[in-house]
């Protein structure tokens, strides 16, 4: 049965909560910006903990900021606290050795990452049903910057090493040897099968630990004697005894490191072959991961803060009670009661999973193992029809737990097969991208290579450069409403990525806006800076080729000229209006295209926009620009220059889903050569011989309607003859000699351009007036004026007008079959 697949005893999680220290008095730093709240600093520092995955460590899942600097930490929480098993004679010496080995293995993992536990105790060691152990809450000391960001001391009474007390409880001694002491005490308790100094009061316990500092006999022996367990001590096999005694050395430098202890042969029998075969793009394959379970749980209505409230961990007291009795004129506060909740509350609240189990109970086993490439008819007939949510709006699909279940299971499987599954990933990404896996999916859409980490490591990100000042002033104002990007860690990472990119791309320079462009990648890969950098590095050549040249004017000018032409192509009325009021894209669209809209929209909108952008080429943003204008069309049409520019200085809410759909539509239905640019990157978008090349920006600006290449015209005539009108403006003689089947001949010389009225064209004016969705291709010769006529049609509000690049003669060598001759 499938629910059992979901109900894994280790797939449980719980939450703890505490308050970050509030900033007293001063609210602004030396740069005039408000001090970053400590809870945000913690939020940033804690992110890295989510990447720690080890069988002997509970995995961190989420950090949530509540009101008033409250921080909630969600982490895997399963099994039972080791303290519950003491004093019951449950463990053999072999058991204790195994436990010791697993504690050290877990510690080794965090010490390698330069993280000190600092509050190791039997409460933070969880024994699983299968007798393995997991360490819990090992990140508290790290995320609080060695305790500096909270107002409570991070200690565990008797488990805390004496030097921590000597340093002062508010000190932030971070030597990993303090953890070794803690393990020593824990092992002593296990061996003696007794909680130590249990009957003593808090102060006395601390005094006991400090008293151990004096005297030069074995600490372990003294502890054993004090607890009347000397026999047990004496009987203990010397191998384990030595380890405990080493751990309980008074001087930290005499205690061994975890790595040294793990080398001890008594642990050899517990070691198994490490798992080294891991993919770079995604983690090793599991039927589902605890992050995914947590994600589904949240989608299915699970709310951590609510559970904490239910269990009484978050209590709200009326604000009136927190008003101080007196505030002096200098701002100091008197008579404010100390809020007990600012102390540390060690309680862990397990999150109930029943409702999720219920919600997913009907999902059958097959769904956990979707077949991707091949499915026999027999199998297909057994499976239920796929969960259908496709017609729902994207935002609903993203919140639907069951839909996200299927999408995530499928995508993780596909990502696991990357790069061989590139095409399948692309195909599925067209439907939608599950937010939980967006970072990895984007990376695969951007063709990331597996060695991205090494590449990033070797880049110099530290040496000061003249650009640093600009980067430093830009970062503190780049998407700062976002918790990750406003945290200190976020600032540091963004700066390193930007510096790395500048260093790596010496042909380019830092233009303001590069920061915004990097932000989405950093946000999605916060714990993998190298990946964020690699994504940026593949994104720019594809979508912003040469935009960051020191002299990028040619590239930008061409892009904007193409944009103007695209507006004229789809919306002549708007184009004419903007032309009349002289409202040129240069005034508003540079930040749009230079940053691919990342300077214009908030992150959540950029993510949805880029989900689609990554499936298209560098012309897609032009269509996005077009659809933004389409949404503002009514206002623009009734506004003058000032109103228009004001509208863009403070861009109103844009419906992103509508914008994306509209732009996808026009992107799909626009012949490629209409938006082709000479500055696009040939590595990504081929420029064939017949494509439009080497047209100067000046020329481009004169041509109000876009050019189309002969191949696109032929494809239109062949594949969708009802969607194209060929207007031949050569003289009748030429036309009769040879022309495209079904084309209309409106000789250039027969049109009076002075008067803007479509009727002037003559017989064919009704056809053009009512052409609606058809593309109008103007065909002339190389020596006819190819600007005037299309411009005239544009002024008459005829949409979808374009000009055949190279004129009629380009048809001759390529496709004589669509031509007719000698009509006379």
């Amino acid at each position: 049965m499938s629910p059992s697949l979901l109900q894994d005893p280790e797939m449980h999680f719980g939450a703890v909560t505490f308050f970050a220290k509030e900033h007293k008095g001063e609210t602004c730093g030396s740069n005039g910006l408000p001090l970053t709240p400590n809870s945000i600093i913690i939020y940033g520092r804690a992110q890295i903990l989510k990447t720690i995955k080890h069988p002997n460590l509970c995995q961190y899942l989420d950090i949530i900021r509540g009101k008033h600097e409250r921080t909630v930490i969600v982490s895997q929480y399963c099994g039972e606290q080791l303290s519950n098993f003491l004093n019951k004679g449950l463990f053999t010496i072999l058991d204790i050795k195994r436990i010791a080995y697993q504690i050290f293995s877990g510690l080794n993992e965090i010490h390698l990452k330069k993280i000190t536990h600092r509050c190791l105790s039997p409460e933070n060691i969880l024994l699983q049903e299968n007798n393995s152990i997991k360490l819990f809450n090992y990140g508290l000391f790290h995320m609080t910057d060695n305790g500096k960001l909270v107002s409570f001391p991070i200690i565990q009474l008797i488990y805390t090493a004496p030097e921590v007390y000597l340093d002062g409880v508010s000190g932030n001694l971070s030597n990993p040897k303090v953890d070794i002491w803690s393990v020593g005490i824990i092992l002593a308790e296990l061996v003696l099968d007794k909680p130590l100094w249990q009957s003593l009061k808090l102060g006395q316990r601390i005094r006991k630990i400090l008293s151990l500092v004096q005297g030069n006999t074995s600490v372990f022996e003294r502890i054993a004697r004090e607890h009347n367990c000397y026999e047990k001590y004496q009987d203990l096999s010397s191998d384990l005894k030595v380890i405990i005694e080493d751990c309980l050395n008074i001087l930290p430098q005499h205690r061994p490191t975890v790595a040294e202890i793990l080398k001890n042969p008594i642990f050899d029998k517990f070691k198994d072959v490490p798992d080294t075969n891991r993919s770079k793009i995604c983690d090793k394959f599991e039927k589902f991961t605890i992050e995914e379970l947590y994600h589904w749980w949240q989608l299915a209505g699970g709310e951590v803060l609510l559970e904490l409230k239910k269990q009484g961990l978050i209590r709200s007291s009326p604000p009136i009670l927190s008003v101080p009795k007196m505030v002096l004129i200098d701002g100091s506060i008197l008579g404010q009661e100390r809020n007990p909740s600012s102390l540390y509350d060690p309680r862990v609240i397990p999150m109930p999973l029943e409702s999720l189990y219920q919600r997913f109970s009907h999902i059958n086993t097959y769904s956990y193992y979707p077949l991707i490439h091949f499915k026999s008819e027999i199998l297909a007939s057994v499976e239920p029809s796929p969960y259908d949510a496709e017609k729902l709006p994207l935002v609903i699909r993203e919140k639907d737990p069951e839909y996200q279940f299927h999408r995530i299971i499928l995508f993780r499987r596909l990502l696991h097969g990357y790069p061989y599954t590139k095409q399948e990933i692309f195909k599925e990404a067209k439907r939608d991208i599950p937010p939980l896996l967006r970072g990895s999916i984007w990376a695969s859409l951007l063709n990331l290579k597996s060695n991205y980490e090494q590449e990033y490591t070797v880049i110099d990100k530290e040496t000061p450069t003249p650009t640093d000042r600009q980067i430093e002033v830009d970062i503190p104002r780049c998407h700062q409403y976002n918790e990750l990007l406003s945290s200190g860690e976020g600032h540091k990472k963004l700066k390193r990525i930007l510096k790395a990119w500048i260093y790596k791309n010496s042909q380019y320079v830092y233009w303001q806006g590069l920061d915004s462009l990097t932000a989405p990648f950093l946000y999605l890969n916060f714990n993998d800076e190298a990946k964020a950098f690699a994504c940026l590095s593949s994104f720019i050549p594809k979508y912003l080729h040469n935009f960051f040249l020191k002299d990028n004017s040619a590239i930008i000018q061409e892009y904007l000229a193409k944009f103007s032409q695209l507006i004229a192509f789809y919306d002549p009325v708007l184009a004419n209006h903007l032309q009349t009021i002289n409202f040129i894209p240069e005034l508003f669209a540079i930040p749009w295209f230079l940053t691919m809209f990342s300077h214009v929209f908030p992150l959540h909108k950029i993510l949805h926009l880029w989900d689609k952008l990554l499936l298209g080429d560098s012309s897609y943003p032009l269509h996005v620009g077009l659809s933004i204008l389409a949404q503002l069309r009514d206002t623009l049409l009734t506004s003058g220059f000032n109103e228009c520019i004001l509208l863009f200085s403070d861009l109103p809410e844009v419906d992103m889903e509508q914008c994306v759909n509209h732009s996808l539509e026009s992107y799909a239905s626009t012949p490629k050569s209409i938006t082709a640019r000479s500055h696009q990157n040939e590595e990504y978008e081929e420029i064939t011989l017949s494509d439009i090349q080497s047209i100067s920006v000046q020329q481009l600006n004169k041509e109000k309607c876009p050019r189309i290449c002969v191949n696109d015209v032929i494809a239109l005539i062949r594949n969708s003859p009802n969607e194209v009108i060929i207007v031949d403006i050569r003289n009748p003689l030429q036309f009769n000699r040879c022309s495209v089947k079904g084309s209309l001949n409106i000789p250039f010389s027969s049109v009076k351009f002075g008067d803007i009225n479509i009727e002037n064209i003559g017989t064919y004016s009704t056809v053009l007036k009512n052409q609606e969705k058809k593309i109008v291709v103007i065909v002339g010769t190389e020596d006819t004026n190819l600007e005037l006529f299309p411009k005239y049609l544009l002024q008459c509000n005829v949409a979808k007008v374009c000009v055949l690049h190279g004129g009629f003669n380009t048809f001759l060598p390529i496709s004589p079959t669509i031509l007719v001759q000698n009509q006379m």
């Binding site: 830009d474 303001q512 990028n552 004017s553 000018q557 540079i590 230079l594 000046q698 600006n701």
Partner: protein, 215 residues
């Protein structure tokens, strides 16, 4: 709201006097507070994390002076040196300019001087230039002395004030001082007129096709 200029609350065109429109441009090194000054003047707001300006932004605000209504069309430009080549498009034809520097950063003052020189050389010869030493709220970090800046302003015939977009100090005052100094006779335009901004951009078409985005 309290920081709005009282005059600005009067609806546009409600006075019986004449209405003048002026194009004003803000220039200065990046992150000195150009956008913040405009935001404070136009909307009475202050954002701690004001985003960087790419290209330029445009805002308008109206102030009343005796019997004249002065409508400012404000071009707020990008500060990064690289965007420099876009600047002429905005200051060409402008009747007023505010050159902003950050009093806590000597380099930005140097940059302000370069802007003043460029305006004196390239802009409208009658342009009214004001120098704003912004971030007065960070006085204890001051690196540019008031006297130094004032002496420089006097030498060059600039209006000068130290301002703070954060506390609103001198923000309205500097715009009002500019409004007072601007000639009101020739520039009169009716309400709903096409606006200076537009005309100035029109006049610029030649230059912009030549590749204005950067040098």
């Amino acid at each position: 709201m309290a920081n709005r200029t009282p005059a600005a609350q009067r609806p546009n065109g409600s006075t019986q006097g004449k209405i003048c429109q002026f194009k004003l441009v803000l220039l200065g090194e990046s992150a000195v507070g150009k956008s913040s000054l405009v935001l404070r003047f136009v909307k009475g707001q202050f954002h701690e994390y004001q985003e960087s300006t790419i290209g330029a932004a445009f805002l308008t605000q109206t102030v009343c002076l005796d019997d004249t209504t002065v409508k400012f069309e404000i071009w707020d430009t990008a500060g990064q040196e690289r965007y420099h080549s876009l600047a002429p498009m905005y200051y060409r034809g402008a009747q007023a300019a505010i050159v902003v520097y950050d009093i806590t950063n000597q380099d930005t003052f140097g940059r302000a001087k370069t802007w003043v020189k460029e305006l004196q050389r390239q802009a409208n010869p009658n342009i009214v230039i004001a120098l704003a030493g912004n971030k007065h709220d960070l006085m204890n970090k001051r690196m540019v002395e008031y006297e130094e800046a004032q002496a420089y302003a006097e030498e060059n015939g600039l209006l000068f004030m130290e301002t703070s977009a954060k506390t609103a100090m001198n923000v309205n005052d500097i715009f009002l001082a500019i409004a007072k100094k601007l000639p009101k006779n020739e520039q009169t335009a009716g309400p709903g007129g096409s606006g200076q901004g537009r005309r100035l951009v029109e006049g610029d078409t030649g230059a912009k096709t030549a590749g204005n985005c950067c040098k």
